[in-house]
């Protein structure tokens, strides 16, 4: 069947099997591999894209169901070469490690901030609660989204510290100059 939709602002028209999932359409047909896939059961959310501005799990949407709609993927987050504040925030606050869940997390964050520019931490946690990150423990993702909320224009200046790390150290780094070099 033939479908057409808008992806990251571009009209696309394709001939596909009716059963093709949106995630596979985006990845395999359009070649936009920033959208990932991580489970069989709509639990993990690595496949989240925005459909008409709303986060959807693209593994649970048929490409045919997205026909006529406006789809935004991670590749469409930056505009005119400038990173979205959410993308900057994830780099500033270490909101990613392996990077696999990151595109979905960032798109959910973008949708949240569009609706609610100043969410509290609980609202952020709820917004991303349908998505799994196995690396970060989520707190740095919350910080990343707060960074984006605090920098709607993507300013580069550093944010004030929002939490604390207590350091207790009185042991010096050993003298390393004499360590033997082994070939």
């Amino acid at each position: 069947m033939q479908i057409s939709m808008t992806v990251n602002g571009n009209e696309v028209v394709s001939e596909i099997e009716p059963r093709v999932l949106l995630v596979h359409y985006i990845r395999d047909v359009l070649g936009l591999t920033g959208t990932h896939w991580g489970c069989d059961t709509t639990n993990c959310g690595t496949c989240v894209v925005l459909m008409d501005g709303q986060p959807v799990k693209s593994c649970t949407v048929l490409a045919a169901m997205a026909a006529g709609h406006d789809i935004r993927t991670v590749e469409g987050l930056a505009t005119a070469g400038t990173l979205d504040p959410v993308q900057q925030g994830f780099m500033e606050e270490h909101g990613l490690q392996c990077g696999f869940c990151t595109p979905g997390m960032m798109l959910t964050a973008r949708a949240l901030l569009d609706k609610n520019p100043h969410p509290d931490d609980t609202e952020i946690r709820k917004a991303i609660s349908g998505q799994i990150c196995r690396c970060t423990g989520y707190v740095t993702i919350v910080r990343s989204i707060q960074w984006a909320a605090a920098h709607p224009a993507g300013a580069v200046a550093d944010v004030a510290a929002t939490d604390e790390v207590i350091e207790g150290t009185d042991t010096a780094i050993p003298d390393i100059a004499d360590t033997e070099v082994k070939a």
Binding site: W37, G137, T140, E167, P174
Partner: protein, 797 residues
């Protein structure tokens, strides 16, 4: 003690005050990931690439009667259907595991676990490949399965591994460490002895990206290029040479960006081998990427230890000895990835952080009709199980003695002046200051106030628990003379080239799965040579481009490869010194180093920067005798000992007495990983591990029913923490450098995964003290907590 109450800034790249060397800088890999430009295995597309899918057994134990592939082969988009019989002809039906066993690549004789590989379809697209699986007819003759490890050695237990010659039972190994007689003598004379069965159930690393491969065999050159999700590309290359009979110089393993590993991507899975066979058979590249159920049901699980713990002490709380007997369920094939001489990994570190008089452990490994594996999920070769055992036993002892669990630990810690400390099972702990870390965590937690709050709440019938745990990790194997994987010594290489303009490239044998190697290792070179990290490219994950080494698992990247990188940079620095001396027309011994340049002692103005030296090295000047015209070096680092990171964790939970639901209210983690290269990355590693701990302690378990059906085969059943289940982590640190490591660093990647489960379970059990609960096994799900509250705690397996 210095207490700093603010978080250091994170200057964006380009800022003048950004550290050149160690410190908090943004990650070099992030720009591609936030743009969706990572390159994971399923993103790879090669010209003419085909897609593979695996037919898996629906039952746990059954004789294979017949396979009919006629209809599948008739599918218009199917190019090949490969069965065990085909592999027998290629001598590929069985492959060696990483633990001196063999594993079936495809079933030839009988199915030994649910989800085992039965046939492989190669088709034009992934949908067609899946369709064709439905067209294969397989007839099975069911056999009774062995599911409960406790029954694996019963006289009437079915024999699982009848493929192994001379095998008459399901025993894999018996292994012991420590002095049994000495330990028994101390137990016999001790004032207090406490015993408890402690079960660490089967869990799964479940990285967000599943395992996969793209195999590309060039029949003309005979070269195999295998892109695969591997944490250990070089070890895989050697093993593929052995398995497939392809000469090793004709194999190139490429590990692209990996979407999380946690130990899941160490082993060689049948799917990788089948992709290679598919490419050889069809003459085209073949991609195979497993789905989530395949990942959870067939790839390397973790834990599955049933431990009988015993602890002996004096009446006033001096811990004397520990003893344990372990039943280890390894599944249908012994495919754990661990050093050859350590069938139970580094479990013998179960002596923990305490100064003991004696210790003894024995571990029996058995086969069951479950998926193979066992060493995975950030376990540091079974240190997770060891730390969980000792930290539960110490808490149980504290209850018996009516002592505060923190005080009992403080009383028994190995003292700073005792390091290096030889424990009772053969380890030499490199450095530590346990009391300092414990007291810092108590200070951060407000421990005394928490205990007062708890007492008040108990009066009101509210269930609040405070869990304390202290761990000592052992990470960074070798030395190579003691530790090997299938005969390959556990050392790692590094190559460094400084180009004429002073920009550098460093090549590693280890492979990141999200740990930030491209940043951390650039920072080590930057610290040693004064070249800014953004001018240093880190190359890894491609065996044709990197030196040999054993890879990333067991938190060994920084302890081993970090040492290699520091030493290779120093080698370059020493070479630069000789060249600088020639440039300055002085003697090398008259030069002094400051970060980035050599200068004449007493004349700081007369010096040469590393950039100037690099240009001179490649230029036309006459170089000193014996110096090649470059600024390159290579090193293979064989660590003299492992490193022993440690930490003090305190967890506060609230339990709903009506439902048994556990809420982690606070978690305080003080970690010591020696010298800190990038505090931001370290904090991230700790956060991730703590979340693993919440998962294992409260939610995650791979269960089986009596027929051997896996009950944790999807994310509907295998629950992983989301943002709603984790608190705002409170992290702190102390710095006790490793005395033998070139930069004093220890590993950090698995510390929190090791240390957090006992802290959480200790908190749960502490909360349930009014109900007389002394122990409950993980996961502390509402139903299981409820059962414990009713006086009916049950083991999960």
């Amino acid at each position: 003690m210095t207490v700093i109450h603010d978080r250091p800034g994170n200057p964006a790249a380009g800022d003048a005050d950004r550290p050149i060397g160690f410190g908090r800088i943004q990650r070099k890999e992030d720009p591609r990931f936030v743009r969706g430009k990572g390159n994971y295995i399923d993103d790879m597309v090669l010209p003419g690439m085909l897609h593979g899918a695996i037919l898996r057994a629906p039952v746990a134990h059954a004789r294979l009667v017949s396979i009919d592939t006629t209809n599948a082969l008739a599918h218009p988009k199917v190019l090949a259907v490969i069965t065990g019989k085909d592999l027998v002809a290629l001598n590929l039906a069985w492959a060696p595991t990483l633990s001196a066993d063999v594993q079936a690549v495809l079933v030839t004789d009988k199915v030994r676990f649910q989800g085992q590989e039965v046939a492989f379809v190669v088709a034009e697209d992934r949908y067609a490949a899946r369709d064709a699986l439905e067209l294969i007819d397989v007839e099975y003759d069911l056999l009774p399965p062995v599911i409960d490890a406790r029954k694996a050695l019963d006289p009437d237990a079915p024999l699982i591994r009848d493929d192994l010659e001379g095998r008459t039972d399901n025993r894999i190994f018996d292994w012991e460490m420590g002095d049994e007689a000495e330990t028994e003598a101390i137990f016999a004379a001790a004032d207090v002895v406490v015993a408890q069965e402690i079960v660490y159930p089967r869990v799964h690393p479940a990285p967000m990206e599943t395992c996969g491969a793209v195999a590309d065999f060039d029949a003309v050159s005979g070269k195999l290029t295998l892109y695969e999700t591997t944490q250990a590309p070089h070890a895989h290359r050697t093993l593929f040479a052995i398995v497939a009979g392809i000469p090793e110089h004709k194999i190139r393993i490429v590990s692209p960006d990996i979407g999380g590993g946690f130990g899941n991507k160490v082993g060689i899975y049948p799917g990788y081998i089948l992709a290679v066979v598919g490419s050889i058979v069809t003459g085209k590249p073949v991609k195979w990427v497993e789905d989530r159920s395949e990942n959870l049901m067939s790839t390397s699980f973790a834990r599955d230890y049933i431990m009988q713990g015993e602890i002996a002490a004096t009446r006033d709380g001096r811990i004397l000895a520990l003893r344990t007997s372990v039943l280890a369920d390894h599944g249908a094939f012994n495919a754990t990835a661990q050093p050859t001489k350590n069938p139970a990994g580094f479990f013998s570190i179960f002596t923990g952080s305490y100064d003991l008089k004696a210790a003894y452990c024995k571990v029996r490994g058995v086969y069951t009709n479950k998926a193979p594996g066992g060493v995975a999920y950030a376990c540091s070769f079974r240190v997770t199980e060891a730390v969980y055992l000792v930290e539960r036993m110490v808490d149980i002892l504290a209850r018996k003695l009516d002592m505060d669990p923190a005080e009992l630990r403080l009383k028994n810690f190995i003292k700073p002046e005792q390091f290096p400390y030889a424990n009772k099972t053969g380890w030499v702990y490199d450095s530590g200051n346990y009391e300092k870390a414990m007291r810092l965590s108590m200070e951060m937690a407000g421990y005394e106030a928490l205990r007062r709050e708890q007492a008040e709440k108990r009066e009101r019938g509210e269930l609040m628990g405070i869990g304390v745990a202290f761990f000592t990790e052992v990470v960074g194997a070798g030395p190579r003379k003691h530790f090997d994987i299938v005969g390959l010594g556990m050392a790692d290489g590094a190559e460094l080239r400084v180009h004429p303009t002073g920009k550098a490239v460093v090549r590693l044998s280890v492979q990141s799965q999200g740990q930030g190697h491209e940043t951390t290792f650039a920072q080590i070179v930057a610290e040693e040579l004064g070249i800014p990290p953004e001018n240093i490219d880190v190359v890894h994950g491609d065996t044709d481009q990197t030196p040999f080494g054993l890879g990333t698992y067991g938190s060994r990247s920084t302890p081993v490869s970090g040492g290699a990188v520091a030493l290779v940079a120093r080698k370059v620095r020493e070479k630069a010194k000789l060249i600088a001396a020639a440039m300055l027309e002085t003697r090398p011994e008259d030069l002094e180093w400051e970060k980035g340049r050599w200068f004449v002692k007493g004349d700081p103005g007369a010096g040469k920067t590393i950039e100037e030296i690099a240009m001179a090295a490649h230029g036309t000047m006459t170089l000193p005798e014996g110096i090649d015209g470059n600024l390159d070096a290579e090193v293979t680092y064989d660590p003299p000992n492992l490193t022993f990171p440690f930490g003090a964790y305190i967890c506060v939970v609230d339990i709903d007495p009506g439902t048994g639901h556990v809420k982690v209210r606070r978690f305080i983690a003080v970690d010591d990983c020696g010298t800190r290269i990038n505090p931001m990355i370290i904090e991230g590693q700790v956060h991730g591990g703590l979340t693993d701990g919440v998962g294992m302690a409260l939610m995650e378990i791979i269960e089986f029913d009596e027929a051997g059906n896996c009950l944790g085969g999807s994310f509907m059943d295998y629950l992983i923490p989301t943002a709603m289940e984790v608190p705002d982590w409170e992290t702190g640190f102390t710095v006790t450098p490793s005395p033998h490591h070139p930069i004093g660093a220890k590993g950090i990647g698995e510390s929190a995964t090791v240390g957090s489960p006992p802290a959480i379970v200790n908190a749960v059990v502490d909360a349930l003290a009014p109900y007389g609960v002394i122990h409950m096994d993980m996961p502390c799900t509402p139903a299981r907590v409820w059962e414990a509250m009713q006086g009916r705690p049950r083991p999960p397996i």
